[in-house]
């Protein structure tokens, strides 16, 4: 019973996610919001604003530094979660 419910909930969530992607702009479209003002700004102002010769590094470490910090925390959390789930004491 529980497995059936879980299966339907998973399917429903998946279908909702797929349905929501239908509203996305087409792949690589030049008119999508990200291409209109974010990407040109990164490409044009990288050297001026961050003094980094590589645009990828400037986005990863400077413009999106906060994002990268929590990526690191996610990895840390994954390690701690595996430790908590799998590690046993010698007796237990």
């Amino acid at each position: 019973m529980n497995r059936t419910v879980a299966f339907f909930v998973t399917m429903l969530t998946g279908l909702l996610l797929i349905y929501s992607t239908l509203d996305f702009p087409p792949w690589g479209s030049p008119n999508q919001p990200g291409s209109l003002h974010v990407s040109p700004r990164y490409i044009e102002k990288t050297l001026e604003e961050t003094k980094v010769p590589n645009a990828v590094t400037s986005v990863l470490a400077d413009y999106r530094g906060y994002d990268t910090m929590f990526e690191t925390s996610v990895i840390f959390t994954a390690g701690v979660a595996v430790m908590m789930l799998l590690r046993r004491k010698k007796d237990g």
Binding site: D62, G65, T72
Partner: protein
């Protein structure tokens, strides 16, 4: 569970490969500024070198080089370095992760301070990724029972 296979070719190649992989991982980290690479990739290569040690020799060999306590410390140290690289600029009136404020502490002006700041956060990412990868690998292959599989942690236990 942990069986030691006596294979001269595998052990010799692993012995040669491990230092090369570790130097290469440091290269990927240091050169990540300009070329593809950085903390995540460098940390994974570094972790792969320890996993190669564990696969080619045995788990005790890998744990002798990288103690379990050290892994736990490195996991948190990486995130610690990253967070404090962001917090220190706050003391000098900047925003969180505003690397140019590091020029108050480090020599070389604002441009070099940005370089140092990014090097610090990549170092944090490298340490955290390396430690977490090795930690997850050890937990998975021993099902969390390091001590039963390997004996005591600190006396350099060999299964051969």
């Amino acid at each position: 569970m942990v069986r030691d296979v006596e294979d001269v070719i595998i052990k010799t190649i692993a012995r040669i490969m491990v230092p090369i992989m570790q130097v290469y991982s440091l290269y990927v980290y240091v050169h990540g500024h300009i070329s593809p690479g950085g903390g995540f990739q460098g940390g994974c290569i570094m972790a792969a070198s320890f996993i190669l040690l564990a696969v080619a020799f045995n788990l005790g060999e890998a744990k002798r080089r990288l103690k379990e306590k050290a892994i736990a410390v490195f996991c948190s140290l990486g995130v610690f370095i990253y967070a404090w690289t962001g917090v220190v600029p706050l003391f000098f009136g900047g925003n969180f992760l505003d690397y140019s404020k590091w020029s108050h502490i480090l020599p070389g002006g604002e441009v070099m301070a940005r370089y140092y700041g990014m090097a610090f956060i990549e170092l944090g990412v490298q340490i955290a990724v390396m430690a977490v990868m090795v930690s997850i690998f050890l937990d998975l292959v021993t099902a969390g029972r390091h001590e039963e599989v390997l004996g005591k942690d600190d006396d350099g236990f060999y299964s051969r």
